[in-house]
């Protein structure tokens, strides 16, 4: 199970700096991040960055968590819209939603202790691709 690097380990009941969730890479398959451990945050800012597109790939972020067997992952939330252009997109994930900014989507869920960002890809791998990365910052 992946955990937050020590340099950005969440301290008890504090907001955190932004930390990498998904390292930049050319993505042509569906893929999930490591599993992260959230001790005391209620939500987070999730930032997804797409580089210059070749062809017409699309990526749809979702947030997953574990069932009690700590083996089965299921989706708590799936982005309403796919990402299909270069840019930086951010999602506010917090109980009640935080829709007051210029976020891509405000998501009314609580962040559980164990979570993973998952990216669904569509396209033809040899011709549709771009570099994708994600980072997050916890919000107490």
């Amino acid at each position: 199970m992946g955990v937050i690097p020590r340099s950005v380990q969440m301290r008890w009941n504090e907001n955190t700096v932004s930390f990498p969730v998904y390292p930049a890479k050319v993505l042509t398959v569906d893929e999930g991040s490591d599993i992260f451990v959230n001790p005391t945050a209620r939500g987070m800012l999730l930032i997804v960055t797409l580089g210059t597109l070749t062809g017409t790939p699309t990526y749809r972020p979702s947030l997953r968590t574990y069932r009690a067997d700590l083996a089965t992952l299921f989706a708590l939330w799936t982005a309403a819209a796919v990402l299909n252009s270069a840019g930086t997109f951010f999602y506010t994930i917090y109980p009640g939603g935080i829709p007051g900014g210029v976020e891509t989507e405000s998501v009314d869920i609580a962040l559980p202790r164990l979570w993973q960002v998952y990216l669904d890809y569509t396209g033809t791998p040899v011709s549709d691709y771009c570099s994708v990365s994600a980072e997050a910052a916890y919000l107490i």
Partner: protein, 139 residues
């Protein structure tokens, strides 16, 4: 009063790992209620209700109870609709509700310190299915 297993203890001021609140059982013609769980600092829960293959036509309604001072259990929430098909259903129980991600039901409730979950069953002895409830505690 039973306590949480050590590996599933809801620690003070922390989110907790997912836990089994109502263990797997082939439920037939009997309402079920689980053990008391202690929630020191959480606000809510994601409830995962897992219904196995149905034999005949049972229905199941998930419930949340609070343990009262005298030892009885007070019903504080029950699902608006019964479950009558196999599947995995997620309920969001949280103050103000959690509408994101399209839960089966978004319930504006708070989870008290001492809580239990149960399933209200309807059917005859010939109507049954395997049922389990898991929980993901939330600050």
């Amino acid at each position: 009063m039973p306590n949480l297993p050590q590996n599933a203890m809801l620690r003070f001021g922390e989110n907790a790992n997912p836990i089994i609140l109502l263990p797997f059982e082939d439920e037939t013609a009997v309402d079920r209620i689980g053990m008391v769980f202690i929630n020191p600092t959480g606000h809510g829960l994601y409830l995962m209700v897992i219904i196995g293959t149905l034999t005949n036509t049972p229905t199941f309604r998930p419930q949340l109870y609070m343990r009262q001072a005298g030892g009885s259990n007070l019903l504080i929430w029950q699902a608006a609709a019964v479950l009558s098909a196999a599947g995995t259903y997620r309920y969001a129980l949280y103050p103000g509700g959690l509408a994101g991600g399209s839960p089966q039901e978004n319930a504006n409730v708070m989870v008290p310190r001492e809580f239990l979950v149960g399933i209200d069953y309807t059917g005859t002895a010939a109507d049954h299915a395997d049922t389990t409830i898991e929980g993901i505690p939330l600050l």
